[in-house]
């Protein structure tokens, strides 16, 4: 039995808007590359012997910053996020089935964070301080919070 869809001239713009919204919401992954994946900040109680001051872990769909408990400072967090931003520029997405581990061997802050930037970083560290101790992947016990975006 044939199905007839009746669309009035007045409702056509609304239908077009709905279709457009559906298409945008389900755009290809490449089109959504401008949106970075969720970011998690973690402090590991035990840090691997990697000669690294922090480690970034990237998987398809999320990025994780793991800091050494002894070096979980504003500067370490700020520079880890700088490194993460640069890696994202160079590698916008991670291939399925693959991961990236990025040991940060060293950093030097030339202009310390101030103002809102400093407050946001301090807020992350404050939340980490009160987060419960759980397991941080293969690093062992630690604490983590989700990095809230604007």
């Amino acid at each position: 039995m044939p199905v007839r869809i009746l669309i009035s001239r007045a409702s056509a713009p609304m239908l077009l808007a709905v279709l457009l919204a559906l298409l945008l919401g389900h755009a290809p992954v490449e089109a959504q590359r401008a949106s970075p994946p969720p970011t998690f900040i973690a402090i590991a109680e035990t840090f691997p012997d990697l000669d690294a001051r922090a480690v970034l872990v990237r998987e398809r769909g999320r990025d994780i910053v793991v800091m050494n408990r002894e070096e979980a400072t504003i500067d370490a967090l700020a520079m880890s996020l700088v490194a993460l931003a640069r890696v994202r520029e160079q590698h916008p997405s991670v291939e399925p089935g693959r991961g990236q581990v990025i040991p940060i061997t060293g950093y030097a802050v030339t202009r310390p964070p101030t103002g809102d930037h400093l407050r946001r970083l301090q807020g992350v560290l404050d939340r980490l301080e009160t987060a419960p101790t759980t397991s941080i992947g293969s690093f062992g016990p630690g604490r983590w919070v989700r990095f809230t975006r604007r």
Binding site: I5, L6, S8, A10, S11, M14, V18, A21, G25, H26, Q32, A34, S35, P48, D49, L50, D51, V57, E59, I64, D75, A78, M79, S80, L81, V82, A83, A85, R86, V87, G97, R98, G99, Q100, V101, I102, P103, I104, T105, G106, Y107, A108, V109, T110, R111, P113, T114, G115, D116, H117, L121, T134, S135, G137, S138, W144, V145, R146, T148, R149
Partner: protein, 255 residues
């Protein structure tokens, strides 16, 4: 009738479309609830050691004839089998910056059928160590066809960077030469000569000071950071690729 249903469809479809957008601001307690934070942050990374990431080796089995020093004299000393004793000549380390990277080159001439050199480039900013990259090379010539000619070996370590100011590079190298014989089942080595060299630092030059915060209400930090990037297979934990040390200097708005 149809146009009455359209608004209802829109009310259903639009939230579905918005739900696919992971860039939506995350505010509030949904992701920071006590229950959510008490969950484990599950992931696995391969087991890595500092040598896995900081060292890159280049190995050849036969010395390149073009690398033999044409100005070399004959054997300088004699040994029990008529071959000259192992010796290291003109060992040195040089450092510098080329567009896109800092480098350290360790080189020496040697007598012996096995030559080895390791060189490490140490990158610093205002005396603060940022990272090191090592390169290693070994040249082997079969004992039976090496009668003591002088050969050349060198290795270059690179640290890639997108920064054009503020960095310094220092270099250190280990130089080795020995005689080695493999009889088909065991290897015998004797008389290893060993020497270390280092180079004076090379500098990019200071960076120009910024003139201010440009009136932005949100200030940002800036600095230099060095890292390795290691790609691995999440199923097997096999390391697929380890990129050279990379140093970047930037500042920008927080993500």
């Amino acid at each position: 009738m149809p146009h009455r249903r359209m608004p209802l469809i829109a009310l259903i479809a639009l939230p579905l479309a918005m739900g696919c957008d992971e860039s939506a601001p995350i505010v509030g307690t949904a992701h920071d609830s006590a229950a959510a934070l008490a969950e484990d942050l599950r992931f696995l990374v391969p087991h890595l050691s500092p040598d896995d990431v900081a060292s890159h080796s280049f190995e050849t089995t036969v010395a390149d004839p073009s690398e033999q020093d044409p100005s070399a004299n004959g054997p300088l000393l004699t040994s029990l089998d008529g071959r000259p004793a192992q010796k290291i000549l003109n060992a040195r380390t040089n450092v510098g910056f080329d567009p896109g990277y800092a480098w350290s080159v360790g080189r020496h001439e040697y007598i012996g059928n096995v030559g080895e050199v390791s060189t490490t480039a140490h990158v610093t900013h205002e005396s603060k160590h940022l990272g090191s990259q090592t390169a290693h090379r070994q040249n082997d010539v079969p004992f039976l066809i090496d009668f003591g000619t002088v050969k050349l070996i060198w290795a270059q370590a690179k640290v890639y960077t997108d920064h054009e100011c503020g960095l310094s590079v220092q270099g250190t190298s280990d130089h080795k030469a020995r005689w080695q014989f493999w009889n088909g089942s065991t290897t015998s080595s004797w008389g290893e000569a060993r020497l270390s060299t280092q180079a004076s630092p090379a500098n990019q030059g200071g960076c120009a000071r910024s003139t201010g915060q440009m009136g932005l209400t949100e200030t940002t930090s800036s600095g230099m950071v060095c890292y390795y990037l290691i790609t691995y297979d999440m199923n097997t934990m096999e390391v697929l690729r380890a990129d050279f040390l990379y140093c970047t200097g930037s500042g920008g708005p927080l993500m």
